[in-house]
Symmetry: C2
């Protein structure tokens, strides 16, 4: 006989406030919240020991796909990195950057021990998230060339050394184009070659996210990078609130989309588990959502446009980086407070299998929406409203 259905997730959560959940209850909670369970991936004792020494969390999971006759599995290990800044924001910028480089080098060395093929760091990974301050000095000194800046050069070395694709989000200074600043992710091949760059398409104007003071909406479109470990795209931070942005990477054939972010608890935390995962479901690709951790303290006070007094801290950045799959499943998140490396093995064949199953693309009616969107942007657009 079938086991009785549980009444609701909410009832179980309320129960958890007064007594422990039994095994089946807990597994139902997790099924509803995380989808069909991803397997745990055991990391070597060497990697685990090293992560412990370096004081960061190391977690491993695995998505599997159905074996096919005509296609071999396409197994890729993805690494997501989240970390605090290393030394105070009052230190000279070159020292701050060097300390962050060292941290990324250490974590990437462990990622290599874990067999990671593609790694992505957090947004603006070589600096504190200083855009809350609206100050240009000294923060603009973190900006660097996306072709051969100091962070890029270090990542090129690591890419070659570990035979990895590295996705490195930086603050870019584009000296070819009159010194404009951009929020940019650079994709580096295992050969060490810079494959290309992808700029942040949507720039926030909310809370302490004063980034529009520094850089404009990206002009690199929705590039997808064909690497030996699959087709990769990068949707930076606030772009995750824009379903069209996710869609456009999908239309260009992305199989893994990274969402390197910097976002804080009071503002966005209940949306964090929704948006990137919805994108993975709707577009049938893997999404790696990355958020930094910790509270960052700045030398001078600033206000947050919320009627509250000036202050010097920006945070709490709540980490919680995770991978969402095309099938509605996701990994648990990394810690909300600790540095971490999330290793996830995926079979990229799963994407097309889920497309074939759900038919979202076949049923998408893009022609209808292309027309409706073209209408909606006209100055004389008349919404389709029916009156009572």
């Amino acid at each position: 006989m079938a086991v009785a259905e549980i009444d609701s997730l909410e009832q179980l959560l309320d129960k958890a406030g007064s007594e422990p959940l039994d095994k089946r209850e807990l597994s139902e909670v997790k099924r509803i919240l995380y989808g069909s369970p991803v397997e745990t991936l055991q990391m070597s004792s060497e990697a685990t020991k090293k992560a412990d020494e370096l004081e960061f969390q190391l977690s491993g999971y695995k998505f599997t796909a159905t074996p096919e006759i005509t296609r071999a599995p396409r197994i890729v290990r993805i690494g997501l990195v989240q970390n605090k800044i290393v030394i105070p924001t009052t230190a000279p910028v070159n020292e701050q950057m060097a300390a962050l480089h060292k941290r990324l080098q250490d974590i990437t060395e462990v990622a290599a021990l874990c067999g990671v093929n593609v790694i992505c760091y957090q947004e603006a990974c070589s600096m504190p998230f200083a855009f809350c301050t609206r100050e240009k000095i000294p923060w603009m000194e973190f900006a660097e060339s996306a072709e051969d800046g100091p962070t890029i050069r270090i990542c090129q070395e690591m890419a070659k050394k570990y035979n990895m694709v590295i996705v490195v989000p930086i603050l870019e200074r584009d000296s070819i184009h009159n010194d404009i600043i951009a929020n940019t992710a650079v994709v580096i091949a295992p050969s060490g070659k810079v494959v290309g760059k992808s700029r942040k398409n949507h720039i926030p104007r909310v809370g302490d996210f004063n980034e529009s003071t520094y850089y404009m909406e990206g002009n690199t479109g929705h590039k997808v990078f064909q690497t030996q470990y699959g087709r990769i795209a990068v949707n930076i931070c606030y772009g995750r609130h824009h379903p069209l942005n996710w869609l456009a990477y999908g239309l260009n054939g992305a199989e893994i989309v990274f969402n390197p972010s910097a976002t804080v608890g009071a503002l966005s935390e209940p949306m964090w588990s929704i948006e990137a995962r919805n994108a993975a479901i709707a577009n049938n690709y893997f999404v790696g959502a990355i958020n930094r951790v910790g509270t960052e303290e700045f030398p001078n006070e600033f206000t947050s446009g919320d009627g509250k007094p000036a202050h010097k801290d920006f945070g709490h950045f709540y980490g919680s980086s995770y991978i969402a799959g095309p099938n509605g499943s996701r990994t648990p998140g990394l810690s909300r407070t600790r540095d971490g490396l999330l290793v996830t093995e995926v079979d990229l064949n799963l994407n097309r299998q889920i497309k074939d199953k759900w038919c979202f693309q076949m049923t998408a009616r893009y022609d209808m929406y292309a027309k409706e969107l073209a209408e909606a942007i006209k100055p004389d657009f008349k919404p389709q409203i029916v009156h009572e």
Copy 2:
């Protein structure tokens, strides 16, 4: 001193398997999962008593908005109804339909006691979800006129009696257009007038959802119905997987979008809490997601396209109806197994307040996406791929 941040949602869930969560832990779990808490709305003892007698769950919640100087609050009470079929699918179709009408009348009477202004029933609310069978006989006899079919006429009476807007999803037979069948929601004003109809825009071909055997993709566009209780739209069932569909209702000015659905646990449950809520966040409107409950047994066996033996049951429909707000918050869900009425009071002013806060519309770059989408549908479309 600030209280220490919790490590992660997952750690707390694991803890719940061996010991109770303390008050703060439980409130953190709920904050991360549901956003800033919606208030509980107390229902009258008369309504509660009646719901008990009629054996359905009655829950009430409330979203508030910041008071404004230049706009009065726009308070609306929304009712979502989920229910099982009432008598077996082997009964004559007119008796099955009459039993469902009676059930909806009973629940709507309680909704009126709760001050509900706008109510929405589940998808194809006057029939079992017989599309799994691919049989036309006798199920096509449930199809009715969207202008004056039996279900519509009963809802017109209720709309007048209770001064309610009623959104009633039916199986439509369109005799003006050569007897085609459609999956349609009809919006009825408190005057009893049929304001208009909105057809299901995206039709599934997955699992037991063989609806494409019966009806085609809707041709009513993305109508928004301006009622005295706000601007309402209806995104039926499988349309919730399509972010462009949600967007188009938003572009036409929707303030509340209903998603009447019929979906089963094994297929979609982990996606249920993601998609409608993501739409509410991305488009800054309220979404009412409704799913039927129970397992429906049909007279003749059918297969599910999954290699498994023929069977007669379709389900488990897992209910879990909920309201998601424009601010990332949501109500708890109704039961996974019981009939229910979810009453949610909202201030529609919250939508624009959140638009002003987050600026998703201002930063949306629709012009860029209109162009990209127009490109993507061309036969000679060349995806933007950068090679290693």
